[in-house]
Amino acid sequence: MAAIAVPAAPGQDVSATINKAEYAIGMIRGPRRIDAINTLEYWGTGHIYSFGQAYRPGGPWPPYKVTTRVSLSYAVPAMRMDFTRDNPEGLVQGGGLGPLAKPERQIQVVSGSFAWNESTPGAGFVPGSTATPAAGAVRDRLLQLWTTPFGVLKAAEQAGASAKVTIDGGATVITFPLSGRLAGITVKATLNGKNQVEKVETPADDPVLGDIVTETTYSDYKDLGEIKSDVLFPSRIVQKQGGFPILDLTITKADLNNPYVVFPVPEAVEQAPPPAVKVDAQKVADGVWYLTGGTHHSVAVEFTNYVVLVECPQNEERALAVIQAVKTTIPRKPIRYVVNTHHHFDHSGGLRACVAEGATILTQVDNKAYYEKVWAQPHTLNPDTLAKAPRKPVIETVADKRVLTDGKRSLELYHVEGSNHATTMLIGFLPQEKILIEADLYNPPPEGALSLALVKEKNLYENLTRLKLDVREITPLHGKLVTIEDLKKAIGDGGSR
């Protein structure tokens, strides 16, 4: 199938351009020239990078090895991404749960208007397996489907008269809006000299960075099927988000001959109630509350005239719920300080909401310049409270140690040294109550998992010893209440993996 040379003429017919691009990768078939692609599968290996989990603030996302199998159907529409992450060469520096004690498999599915995660493909219909609803992920997963090379061309066709074609630096660019569940997103697809989809850019909103771009690059198209179908698929897929790579895959094989792949929605997923943010306030000591109810916990410490909230995580929705829980639990005392344990986005994503609330942010010194820079970035796609009513964030820093005290109670903040997880990690210690507050360094099983060779847990314990902290209880920001004995037992049984 010969490629058709595209003259670089401005104002060319949009549907002709889309058609040529479809023809170029083998979508248009038969004497009636119809789009014959419905399902496909591909397998790849490479690296997947944990977005928002850089070792240093402003640094690249940390890589993990990945093998993946993706099955999709444009007719449903549906996609199943079955991927296994493992540690990269050398010690992981940054988040993403590394170093993993064992390879971690995730199966992420979207089908129609439902999204869920599977313990095994088809979970929910296989005895002994689980299908966990993930309603919040529907849009993102559908977007993954419609930014594949065939998906983007099908979606461009759907956009009809709203699609535009321009020539950008000699390259043909198709710009069009998505619709339905993805309404509001404008896609930009760039074609290479052979009219193959070379790059797809879509906007996204991030609670920390604001408006960001997801950029996917496709290269080296081939018929990768064992049974040849003359459908071409990129042998290399590279994805970037927030300026750094999040995926780099070499496709090892593909079934491009409309394979049998199906995506039935389990009843439990269909009937799952919409996800609601909830905060459970558990008193762990006089004036100390452990705020759980989701995946990322916080701790509220009541001082005489104010509250210190340790961690304002994830996003505005969680942050506002946590703030509300504090107000209900400790009425009439303002949240004066919000302690940010470290810069990873899942822990810092709610800070903008806490800034809007008027709190002073306490964070490790290396974060200040980073937050001031990124919080000034625009949030036009999904404006949060701070974007709508801007105010200058008040950030105070902790170098190695800072003590918050009002004479009656103290909260000590310490910088963790030598952690592979993040350079800006802080832990909190209540010396009277002997309670340690820590994030990500010790995630007690079964909700959490221990790291390979207990690297993170041992480093935490070394810091506790160095600082001579007399810890009795621990409020981990992932998992459940534990004691120092639990930590000692975890690292005591060896690290022999």
């Binding site: 199938m1 078939r29 038969g30 004497p31 009636r32 020239r33 119809i34 789009d35 014959a36 692609i37 419905n38 399902t39 159907s73 007719a75 449903v76 095994t120 493909p121 088809g122 979970a123 219909f125 296989v126 064992e226 049974i227 040849k228 179908s229 003359d230 459908v231 079934d255 001959n257 409309n258 394979p259 049998y260 792949v261 199906v262 039935p264």
Partner: protein
Amino acid sequence: MKSSCKKRFGFGSCVLIAAQVTAVCLFPKQVWGQAPSPSASHSTEAHPDLTGVWNGATVAGPYIKSADPLAALLPARDGDLVNFERDGALIRRSNPNKPLYKPQYWEKVQKLDQNENEADPSYGCAPGGVPRIGPPAKIVQTPTELVFLYVSPPAQGWGDAYRVIPTDGRAHTPLDQLDGTWNGESVGHWEGDTLVVDTIGFNDTSWLDIGGYFHSENMHVIERIRRDGDTLTWQATVEDPDVLLKPWVTNPRVQRLNPDPKARLPESFPCSERDLSHLVTKEHH
């Protein structure tokens, strides 16, 4: 000698097959909601009479003479055989109506599908079975039974076949007393103007359709056949809770009455599989 056309979804090609086949390109009609158009001559004992030769033809003669015979006979993109085979395969396989297997069988269906050349019983000239054999080419209806007669298309083979569908109200033989066969044991009854054929007692060797769609011996097939004037619509529902998550309903197929009142059925040619030993790749269509 019939073809069916999946033009509705745009996934099939309406192919005018010339030279060897007097075929007609048919559009599946949604007939279930329509009122029937009965006439006294079509009724037997208050039920419609389905008797007839249902391989209606509109094209006479062996050839389609055309300035570009390839355009008509080898409807390929750019007239290229390679394109034709690969396009045809891809287009047919893009049909979204697939049986929904239990997840533990997904890999099996894929493997059978990929190894079709070896694994498909019909490639080896075995019978098509029910529902794969589709609607009959000729029906003879009596007050107590219907005889369904089938022919193979002239260039592929599962040979001549027949089924007898009793409508005398008898019940099925208990399943555990039935030997599994290709066509199973059928009983028929009328629901209004629709003939409902209920079949059990299958082997597990046949496929529901091309694509690796295997089934169990506990399969239960319900076919619904209805006549509207000169057209016959057939549709099957396959229940097989051993392997399927839910029953599979085939696309409806519409056949037209042969306009020649003296039409005879052609004899199917014997089938002999000779290509397997020469096959070098797994391509199929």
